[in-house]
Each structure stands twice: as C-alpha cells, then as structure tokens.
C-alpha cells in the first residue's frame, strides 16, 4: 500500500535517508526502529510531504505521491499522529477532531467517524468541550489518535505514540492501535519503546544512520541478538 523506492533525502548537505526502501502491505502494523537522528522522523515527514525526497519514489496505493501537497496526501487517506501529540491547545477537543477532518466535506460520514472516535474513547466524548491544552497526556493521546481517525485514513503514521505517557497509558495506547488496525487501518509507527512496538507489530524495519540495516517479521526481530542488545535492553533488565 505504501512503498519507498530508493528514497534519498537531504537537509542541506546532510544526507538523511540513504537509498531507503520500505514496503508496507495493507492491513499491517509496521514499526520502524532506530536510535536518535537515524532518519525515523524524516521518514514520517517524507510520507506526509513536509520533506521532499531528492531522488526516489514514494508510492501510495500504486500512485506516486512524492510531489503531492500534504493536503492531497491527507485527502488520499494518510493521517498523522504527531510526535508529542501536537494538539491545538486553545481549541476544544471537538474542534481538534474537526481539524482532523479538515480535508473532508461535513456530512453524515463526519458524524459516523465522530461516533467511532467517541465509542473508541468515551473519555474524549466527555471532554469534547474542554480546551485540548488542559487535558492530561493520556487524554491528549486519545484525542490525537481520534483526530487522525477523523480523516478516515487508510494509513496512520504514528511518531512515538508512547512518548511521555505513563506505562499504563502506553499499554492502553498499544491496545487501541491494535483495535484500529483490526478495523482495517494500516499502521506505520516510529517507536523508541521497541519491546512494546515489536509485541504488536507484524513487521519491522531497523534504521541506522539513514539506512535500512535490518527488516523482517517482528517475531524474528524480537529474537535477533543485535536488536536485543541495541533496543530491547530494558526488557531484559525487566525480565531479570
């Protein structure tokens, strides 16, 4: 459904993504692992059209999208859950959800999607008239995911969904991600919490200084020595 073909991205002289290839199948949860400044966020920005690749192709549902505006990509069914949630703090929860549906016409579909979000997150419904900036981190995450769903996306790109959340909320967030995925939405997720991410992902890619160094089914990567050492240290400590 989403494919990167030999994508190269530069920030000025800095070569960030080096000949990167991804291939995401419809209905999958794919996670992207890697250390700081390895190109994970740039990957997300390249998908959303905030950063344009210097060479290579980004293909969504069989069509090249790398020259399209962000608005057009959202219209075609790609929605972001941004790092640190990035809600509009002085707009109400409901207005934030409306912004998620910005590229779509207001109609019965909007109300269906709103019901879907409220069913998934009863808490969001309770808070709908409250300013988003006054919510707790966990509540904000629910609104951020709800906002993405309001675009009626086929693919949701999540940048660090667990960041800054308490362990309980992290677990809830990952359950929600699985629920959404089972409803047919493909998930592409950048995540520091590798143990958690690999436990729900179908497949994963590992980026190192802008290159894909490893990829495969999540179950395999969980057993991989390199991965265990580099990213799953926490889990081992916890297990001991």
């Amino acid at each position: 459904m989403l494919e990167f073909r030999n994508v190269n991205t530069y920030y000025g002289d800095l070569h960030v993504l080096k000949n990167v290839n991804y291939n995401l199948g419809a209905g999958e949860i794919i996670c992207l692992l890697g250390g700081n400044a390895c190109g994970k966020s740039t990957t997300m920005k390249t998908i959303m059209g905030i950063v344009r690749p210097t060479s290579g192709e980004v293909i969504f549902e069989g069509q090249r999208i790398d020259k399209l505006s962000t608005a057009e990509r959202v219209r075609r069914g790609i929605a972001p859950v941004l790092e640190a949630r990035r809600l509009f703090p002085r707009m109400t929860v409901f207005e934030n959800l409306e912004m998620g549906a910005f590229t779509r016409k207001r109609g019965p579909e909007f109300n269906e999607d709103l019901d879907r979000v409220y069913t998934l997150f009863p808490r969001v419904k309770e808070r709908r008239d409250q300013q988003a900036g006054t919510l707790s981190g966990g509540e904000q995450q629910m609104v951020a995911i709800g906002r993405a769903l309001m675009a009626r996306p086929k693919l949701i790109c999540m940048d660090e969904p667990s960041m800054g959340l308490s362990p309980l909320f992290v677990e809830q967030t990952f359950e929600i991600i699985q629920t959404i995925n089972r409803q047919g939405v493909t998930i592409f997720m950048v995540e520091q919490n590798a143990a958690m991410a690999l436990s729900i992902a179908h497949r994963a890619y590992v980026l190192q200084t802008g290159q894909v160094v490893l990829s495969g089914p999540a179950s395999e990567l969980r057993e991989n020595e390199q991965i265990r050492e580099a990213y799953l240290g926490e889990m081992q400590v916890a297990a001991e």
Binding site: R73, L87, R90
Partner: protein, 309 residues
C-alpha cells in the same frame, strides 16, 4: 458642562476613536498571530482606504462639508463606499502578501518585516505622487443630529461608528470561531506544522488573514476620514503607530486583546485631549505601553508563548 458630563463626553469621544484603532489593530494582530510578522504596510493600507472611500463618495456626488443627501440614498451611498473600500483594501493586502512577502516565506530573521516597511513607503509615496501632497477635505455627509445625556452629546455619526465597529468585530470573531477557514486560522496560529499535517493549505490561511485585516483597515480609514474630515498621504503613520501600540498593549496575536487595546488607546487620547492637552496623548500612550509591558510582557490579554525551537 459639569465635570461628570465632561468625563462622559470624553468617554463617548474616546469610544469612537477607540473603535477605529481597534479595527486597525486587528489587522496587525491577525497577521502576527499566524505568521509572527509585524506588517508595517498595514499603516498605509489604512491610508489608502481613506482615499478609496473619498473617491467612492465623490462618485455619489458627496463632496465637501455640506449635507447633500438624506435618508435611504445616503445610507446606500455610505454602505456602497464602505463595501468597496473594504474589498479594495482587502485585495491590496492580498496583493502585498503575494508580491512582497510570499517570496520571503521561510526566510529566517527580520527580512519580511523590513520588506513591509519598504512596502509602506511605496504606498505612501505612490499616493503622494498620484494625488498630491496636500491635505484633502473628506466629505462630511452625515447629518449633524445629536442626542443629549445631560449636557454631553452623542452625534449620529458616533452611533454609526459604534454600530459599524461592533458589527465588523463581531463578524470577525464569529468567522474565526465558527467557520472552517476561521478554525484553520486559529489552528495555524497555535501550531502551524500540525495544521499543515491536517491538510490546511497555509497559503490560503495567510491570504485570508491579509484580506480580513486589510479590509478592516479600510473600514478604519473610512471612519478616520468621516471623523476628522480630512485625509492625506501621511495619515497612516500616526494612527497606524497608535493602533500597533493598541495591538501590543492588548497582547499581539490575541483578537479580543486588540479590541481592548484599541478602545483603551482611544479613551486615553480623548482624556489626554481634555485634561492634559492633546499633544501629550502620545507621551501618555507610549508611557503606558512601557509600564504594561514591564508588568505583563505579553500584553493585557496575551500569553507568553514558549519560544519556538
């Protein structure tokens, strides 16, 4: 006049002036809220507004100080002049953004702001070359009807200003709160990157901000002409600077703040004229600005935003 009536009179005058400053301040604040840009060309969009209004009124035969029209035809002439002025100024604002500012989008530093100073000079000097440097009489077509509260008086014209300003400000507020584009404006002001990722086309939002702000400046220019019965190529500077001060005083980027700041500046100007001497008005206005910024650096209704990284 009793001291109380005198005070009441100056409040009435101050509210009228203040409405004009508020309309003008809104343009600074809307654009700043979205782009973090202080748009000095706004001064002279206001000035051009007064000339456009004067031109349209003269097409209706309204010139000089005599009352030439009454009733419905007068109302129609005034409304047509207002609408034409606002649309013309709105389009001028959009043109300035498109020609002078969009090429600088994404350039860091004060380049865009300095460009707006340049545009401001171009507008005032072009007006001077085209229409002459002399001060023009602005028609005074509204009958001098007055209403009395004690010995203080309210003219029909002041009531027109209040109603008009209330309608325009209320309309702007509803637009920003309720309409889809208005919400996109607020979202862009609060988090431009996130708004972009929702599919908001930032250029459209910026164009809207310039159109609305400049249209309100046009209305303020019209009011200025009717209030003072003159205009010339240089009126933008004094009024513009006071309105800019109003926007900062209220908290730049904050729409109710600009309204409050404008009204306050108008009241101070009227009070200074009555009790201290008109030439002290600016001294008092700018001293107050300094004091408020020491106590509340973000302005009366503003919030201190964390510096963007």
């Amino acid at each position: 006049m009793s001291p109380f009536d005198l005070l009441l009179q100056q409040i009435i005058n101050g509210l009228s002036l203040g409405s004009m400053y508020a309309l003008l301040a809104l343009g600074f604040t809307i654009v700043y809220g979205i782009m973090e840009l202080i748009n000095f060309s706004h001064f002279n969009v206001f000035m051009i507004g007064s000339f456009v209004a004067m031109g349209v009124l003269s097409l209706f035969g309204l010139q000089g100080q005599s009352i030439l029209m009454h009733g419905a035809p007068l109302v129609v002439a005034l409304i047509v002049a207002l609408v034409v002025t606002m649309v013309a100024c709105g389009l001028l604002g959009v043109l300035i953004e498109r020609v002078a500012l969009r090429p600088l989008r994404g350039v860091q530093g004060p380049m865009a702001m300095i460009t707006t100073i340049g545009v401001s000079y171009v507008l005032s000097n072009a007006t001077m070359l085209a229409l002459g440097a002399n001060t023009k009489n602005f028609p005074n077509p509204i009958p001098p009807m007055t209403f009395h509260i004690g010995t203080a008086q309210i003219t029909a014209f002041q009531i027109v200003i209040w109603v008009l300003s209330a309608l325009l400000m209320g309309g702007l507020y509803m637009f920003v709160q309720r309409s889809k584009l208005g919400k996109a404006m607020r979202a862009t002001a609060q988090d431009p990157d996130a708004a972009l990722m929702m599919g908001v086309e930032v250029n459209r939002v910026i164009m809207t901000a310039f159109f609305l702000g400049s249209a309100l400046a046009g209305a303020a220019g019209f009011i200025f002409g009717l209030y003072y019965n003159f205009t010339n190529f240089g009126i933008g500077f004094t009024a513009g600077l006071r309105a800019f001060t109003a926007a900062v005083l209220g908290g730049i980027g904050n729409i109710p703040g600009a309204m409050l700041g404008g009204i306050l500046i108008g009241l101070i100007e009227a009070m200074a004229g009555q009790y201290v001497g008109a030439k002290w008005a600016d001294v008092i206005i700018f001293s107050l600005l300094v004091l408020v910024l020491i106590a509340r650096p973000a302005g009366l209704l503003g919030r201190l935003a964390p510096t963007k990284s």
